[in-house]
């Protein structure tokens, strides 16, 4: 009986720890505030992955999207938001104001030591501005800018990061394979249709590859979803099975103890 109680107690403690871990993970992973609903799930997942990769080079990205700012100046708003969100000195905050066709960037002191303000401005101008304003490819713009900034920061610190697979890089082959096999066919998103899924609740995600082709993020999202299940909730199906296995083993052990056989001298 004591063993069962102990197992139950252990289970409760484990679940509590898992919940705590989930809470901490959730609070730590608020890196994208897509109020304008313009970023795909794949992009959000890639931002999280890139931030994990960038931990070694002390860099972290946060993306905020808004439809409008109600007459406020974008840079001032972004700076205020940076302070309000209490972002670290290693953070880069990228603000996209979709309805106003504006954007702004704020960064912490440590970032400016690695990447100067001019460098960041150049990266924005070279990699972000055109896809953001002309093509309205918000996912592409965010992805290309972040990858370039991360690589620049890594280079400045004499390190390298492997960003393959993030933001559609090196996806062309798999996309072509998918299309040729006829398993799925996807169309490139039309300009301005970025919000169509916003009302319909369609979760189909189509993202742009590095070579300009488009592919579906459904498969990769499903994979990353499984991989991230553990990180997101802190409690995966596998863990549950292990816990149940431990409980069943403990209860079996108890049953064996309960029936030790006839005592010597008893009839």
């Amino acid at each position: 009986m004591k063993n069962i109680r102990f197992a139950a107690f252990l289970l409760a403690v484990l679940m509590l720890l898992s919940a705590l871990q989930a809470g901490l993970a959730a609070s730590a992973r608020e890196e994208v505030y897509d109020d304008a609903s313009v970023l795909s799930g794949q992009t959000v997942a890639d931002i999280v992955s890139l931030n994990e990769l960038c931990e070694d080079i002390d860099l972290s990205f946060t993306v905020v999207t808004r439809h409008f700012l109600g007459g406020k100046e974008a840079q001032a708003y972004c700076d205020a938001l940076f302070d309000e969100m209490d972002l670290s000195d290693e953070s880069v905050l990228l603000l996209l104001v979709i309805g106003e066709e504006r954007y702004a960037l704020s960064a912490g002191e440590d970032v400016y030591e690695t990447l100067s303000a001019d460098k960041l401005a150049n990266l924005l101008a070279a990699n972000f501005r055109t896809p953001y304003l002309t093509a309205r490819d918000y996912n592409g713009a965010v992805g290309v800018f972040m990858l370039s900034a991360a690589k620049e920061a890594a280079r400045a610190k004499g390190e390298s990061i492997d960003t393959a697979g993030l933001f559609g890089t090196q996806k062309a082959q798999s996309a072509q394979a998918e299309q040729s096999s006829g398993e799925a066919s996807f169309t490139a998103p039309q300009a301005g249709e970025w919000w169509s899924g916003f009302f319909s609740g369609d979760e189909s995600i189509i993202y742009k590859n590095a070579d300009g082709t488009y592919s579906s993020g459904l498969n990769s999202i499903a994979k990353t979803q499984d991989d991230k299940d553990d990180n997101d909730s802190g409690f995966s199906f596998g863990k549950l099975i292990v816990i149940l296995l431990i409980i069943s083993l403990l209860s079996k052990k108890k049953k064996v103890k309960r029936n030790p056989g006839p005592r010597p001298g008893s009839r």
């Binding site: 439809h67 409008f68 109600g70 007459g71 979709i98 309805g99 106003e100 309205r136 039309q190 300009a191 301005g192 249709e193 970025w194 919000w195 169509s196």
Partner: protein, 188 residues
């Protein structure tokens, strides 16, 4: 030896009365000034509501600037009204008038925008003009804060009118609280 001459009792009484009257007036002034400050919460809520209208109007102007002529009279009028709405120190009468013009003006601009081919060919701006902005305009047009302010101001004014200390406070410069709705209809 000259005998010390005291103050004439009538003069002393008069001075005492004047001082008493001054004390009463000062007390009334302080009390009603404090009472007036209790309206600050409603005034803040009213300012927040008017600021929200100004922000929505800004957003509308941002979209309109992409498709309409900058010198359009409707846009110029709205720009002027925005300044009044967000200026907490502007006369309440003018702010109330701007607030009254806000919703019809926004609706007129939205209708004009929706009819423009430039907007119709831009699915993003169509979404803004036909869905998001009209919704925001409607939400901001809520009269809740105005009503709360007016009720508080009327209650304050009624108390002031009925009490003697209120009369004294008025004599010493404490005003009635202006009603937002009354001002809107054409002044106090």
């Amino acid at each position: 030896m000259a005998e010390k001459k005291g103050l004439h009792p009538a003069i002393a009484c008069a001075i005492m009365c004047v001082m008493l009257a001054c004390a009463l007036c000062m007390g009334a002034n302080r009390g009603w000034t404090k009472e007036r400050k209790s309206l600050d919460g409603e005034v803040s809520a009213l300012n927040a509501a008017l600021s929200a209208r100004a922000e929505t109007a800004y957003n509308l102007l941002t979209v309109a600037a992409r498709h309409m002529d900058e010198s359009d009279a409707r846009l110029a009028q709205l720009r002027g009204d925005i300044k009044l709405l967000e200026n907490a120190s502007a006369p309440l009468a003018e702010r109330a008038a701007a607030s009254a013009r806000y919703q019809p003006a926004c609706k007129e601009i939205l209708s004009a925008l929706a009819a423009l081919p430039g907007v119709q060919s831009d699915s993003r701006d169509v979404m803004y003009v036909t869905q998001r902005l009209p919704q925001a305009v409607e939400q901001c047009a809520s009269q809740g804060a105005q009503q709360a302010y007016n009720e508080a101001a009327e209650a304050y004014n009624a108390r002031m009118r009925k009490s003697f200390s209120g009369l004294l406070a008025r004599l010493t410069g404490v005003d009635f609280a202006p009603s937002f709705a009354a001002v809107q209809e054409g002044g106090l």
